[in-house]
Symmetry: C2
Subunit: 156 residues, 2 copies
């Protein structure tokens, strides 16, 4: 007799559970993205700000390819984002001395101050959050989210 129900790799409820999870995450991403977008100064998009922020926190001199991988966007998207930032004068692109195909991304002084200004605009947006969503809760679920992100990132 064939094992029709012997190995229920995915009980129906489990799928539904994961599905709710991704749905909830999708809506949060949408809401927070729109919200941040609205208050960001200098016509910065969330993606552009994230890039500036990344440069300040983790240092600059990264290649576009590594940035695209870090942010999980296509190379084409990263090209576009970097061009926008360069047009605003917030980054500088230099050829990679060791690899003629590659480039290096550096923040300019005005890029750094734009990031400062953006942070200032973003903080009050989260002013009331700790009331209903304490920082401890954020810290508690972050590791789980990281695990999920890593699984999605590696298994594709």
């Amino acid at each position: 007799m064939p094992n029709k129900t012997a190995r229920p790799a995915q009980p129906a409820e489990t799928g539904a559970l994961y599905f709710r999870l991704f749905n909830e995450i999708g809506i949060i991403a949408q809401l927070s993205g729109n919200r941040f977008q609205r208050v960001l100064p200098q016509g910065l998009t969330v993606a552009q700000f994230s890039l500036l922020n990344h440069g300040v926190r983790l240092g600059d001199g990264w290649t576009p390819a590594r940035l695209a991988a870090a942010f999980q966007v296509t190379k084409g998207t990263m090209t576009n984002t970097l061009q926008k930032l360069e047009a605003k004068g917030f980054i500088r692109l230099e050829p990679d001395p060791g690899d003629a195909r590659s480039k290096r991304v550096f923040l300019t002084a005005s890029g750094r101050s734009a990031r400062e200004a953006a942070l200032k605009a973003l903080v009050p947006e989260l002013a009331g959050l700790p009331g209903s969503f304490p920082p401890a809760l954020a810290a508690e679920i972050l590791p789980a989210l990281e695990r999920l992100r890593i699984w999605l990132d590696t298994n594709r």
Copy 2:
């Protein structure tokens, strides 16, 4: 003396913590969205599938306005998505008998079977997930995510 540091409404670390949270959520949404998109049959987008799924799970007959609110997209976006679904023959739009401005959204039989097919395509995509991200963990963080979503939803 003015209370310069008296009420640190947002310690710097707290802001950074929330920021990491939203960043992580944004990347997960991006990765899972792209992933689902790739395997969805019938040229369905994630948004379209979510709509079909919503109809099956919570019943149909909703108005576009309520759907837009439920999914946190603009009315224009919902109009567009509904038109696509209608063109595929997956939903039917009827005038609301009680309100001449409004419409009601109903699933067709082929809409229901398209949703079935999409579910079938989606499940294997999550096959390996329980290994590194057990369902219990999903259940554990879901309430927190709901709280976050609700806060974002109400405070805007």
